[in-house]
C-alpha cells in the first residue's frame, strides 16, 4: 500500500504495489520489465520550494529521483526504466486555481521524467474521476480502476 506522500519499490514476484483512490495526486510507476523490478510513488504536490522533510516524498521533485534510486538499488537498469502515470484529476466541478493541482502535478512529474530520460509508456490522467493503480511486480502488469468501474490493463506482461 503506497499512501499519500509515500513510495515503495520491490523486486519480489507476487508483490503488488497499490495506491487507492488517487484524486489530484499522481501515482507514478517505474518499471524495468525484463528484470521484474517496479516502484510506485504517490505524489501529492508538484514542487517543494527546496526544503526536504525527512521521510516524506509528497513533492514530485523529491519523489521522482528517490524512486529512481530505489528501483536501481533493487537491480533495475537505469536506461531500461519506463514510467506509467495515473491520477492528476480535477475532482471538484467548480474549479479554482488550487484545485488544478492535478494538472500541475502531472506536468511536474513529466518534466522530471524527461530530465531523467525515462519514457512514459502509458497514462490514465486528468479528467474528474478518482483512480486506483495496481502495479504487479512480476509478471509485470499495471492496472487502473475508476470509481464504480472495472480493472483496466495499462501495461500487460
Amino acid at each position: 500500500m503506497v499512501r499519500m506522500g509515500e513510495l515503495a519499490a520491490s523486486a519480489a514476484a507476487g508483490d503488488v504495489l497499490v495506491s487507492l483512490g488517487l484524486g489530484s495526486c499522481i501515482g507514478l510507476a517505474l518499471l524495468d520489465r525484463r528484470v521484474g523490478v517496479a516502484g510506485l510513488a504517490h505524489v501529492v504536490l508538484p514542487a517543494s520550494g527546496g526544503t526536504p522533510t525527512p521521510g516524506s516524498w509528497r513533492f514530485a521533485d523529491f519523489a521522482v529521483p528517490e524512486l529512481v534510486d530505489r528501483v536501481v538499488k533493487l537491480g533495475a537498469r537505469r536506461p531500461m526504466l519506463e514510467a506509467v502515470l495515473v491520477g492528476g484529476a480535477s475532482m471538484f466541478a467548480v474549479s479554482n486555481s488550487s484545485l488544478e493541482v492535478g494538472q500541475r502535478n502531472e506536468a511536474a512529474v513529466r518534466e522530471l521524467l524527461r530530465a531523467e530520460r525515462i519514457n512514459v509508456i502509458a497514462t490514465e490522467t486528468g479528467g474528474s474521476r478518482g483512480r486506483t493503480i495496481r502495479v504487479h511486480v512480476s509478471p509485470q502488469t499495471v492496472t487502473v480502476r475508476e470509481a464504480g468501474g472495472v480493472e483496466k490493463a495499462l501495461v500487460t506482461a
Binding site: R3, M4, G5, E6, L20, G21, L22, G23, S24, C25, V44, L45, G49, T53, S56, R58, A89, M91, F92, A93, V94, S95, N96, S98, L99, V101, G102, S128, R129, G130, R131, T132, A147, G148
Partner: protein, 194 residues
C-alpha cells in the same frame, strides 16, 4: 505526533463542537428536523494515515468542499455516504440521482459549511470567509486526498476535526471535516491562549 498537547487538542475539539453546534442549527432549520451532533474527534496524523482514518478509501462518497479565506486559510469538507445523500435529498423533496440532487447537497454544504466557518471566526476573533462550494461523487480517498493536497504544502501532518450531524428520526448523518493550514492552527491556539 506530539505536535499538539492534550490541552490544545481539547481546545480544538471544543472549537469544532461549537462550530458544528451552529452548523446543526442551520441544517435543522433547512430540513425542518431536529439535528444532533456527535462529540467531535480531533486527529493529528501523518498525511499518509489521514484517508484510512476517515473510512474505506475505495468506498463511494459525495464530498462538498468549501474553502476558507481570510486570517486562517483552510477547507471544510462535508462527506455523505450514498445512503445519506439519498436520505438528505429525500428530506428536501429532491429525487436522488437527478441533476438537482448534487445542487441540493451543495446547498446543504453551503449553508452548513458557511455557518460553521462563521461561528469559528466569531469565536476566535478572526476574519474568515467561505468560498463557494464544489462537489464531487467518487472514491472517498480521491475526494479526501484532493482536499488534503491543497493544504499539504506547509507540512505533512494533517489536523482533522471531525464531527457528525445526525438527523433525528432518520438514519441519516453527515460527517464534517475541518482541515486548516498548519500555520492557521498555531494562530488559532494562540487566540485561545493554550
Amino acid at each position: 505526533m506530539s505536535r499538539y498537547t492534550d490541552l490544545q487538542l481539547d481546545a480544538l475539539r471544543e472549537l469544532a463542537n461549537i462550530g458544528s453546534g451552529t452548523a446543526s442549527t442551520a441544517l435543522s432549520s433547512l430540513l425542518g428536523r431536529s439535528v444532533d451532533i456527535s462529540v467531535p474527534n480531533a486527529f493529528v496524523l501523518p498525511m499518509a494515515e489521514a484517508v484510512g482514518t476517515i473510512g474505506d478509501p475505495e468506498s463511494e462518497a459525495t464530498g462538498v468542499v468549501l474553502g476558507i479565506v481570510g486570517d486562517m486559510p483552510g477547507s471544510v469538507l462535508l462527506l455523505f455516504t450514498p445512503k445519506d445523500a439519498e436520505l438528505m435529498c429525500g428530506l428536501l423533496g429532491v429525487e436522488a440521482g437527478s441533476e438537482f440532487a448534487v445542487s441540493a447537497l451543495m446547498e446543504i454544504g453551503n449553508i452548513v459549511g458557511a455557518s460553521y466557518i462563521n461561528a469559528l471566526g466569531q469565536m476566535i476573533g478572526m476574519e474568515l470567509e467561505p468560498t463557494p462550494p464544489a462537489a464531487a461523487t467518487d472514491m472517498l480517498a480521491a475526494i479526501v486526498e484532493t482536499v488534503l493536497a491543497e493544504r499539504a504544502a506547509a507540512g505533512d501532518i494533517a489536523l482533522l476535526l471531525d464531527s457528525d450531524l445526525v438527523v433525528e428520526g432518520e438514519d441519516c448523518s453527515v460527517s464534517f471535516l475541518l482541515v486548516p493550514d498548519q500555520g492557521g492552527v498555531d494562530q488559532m491556539l494562540e487566540r485561545l491562549g493554550v
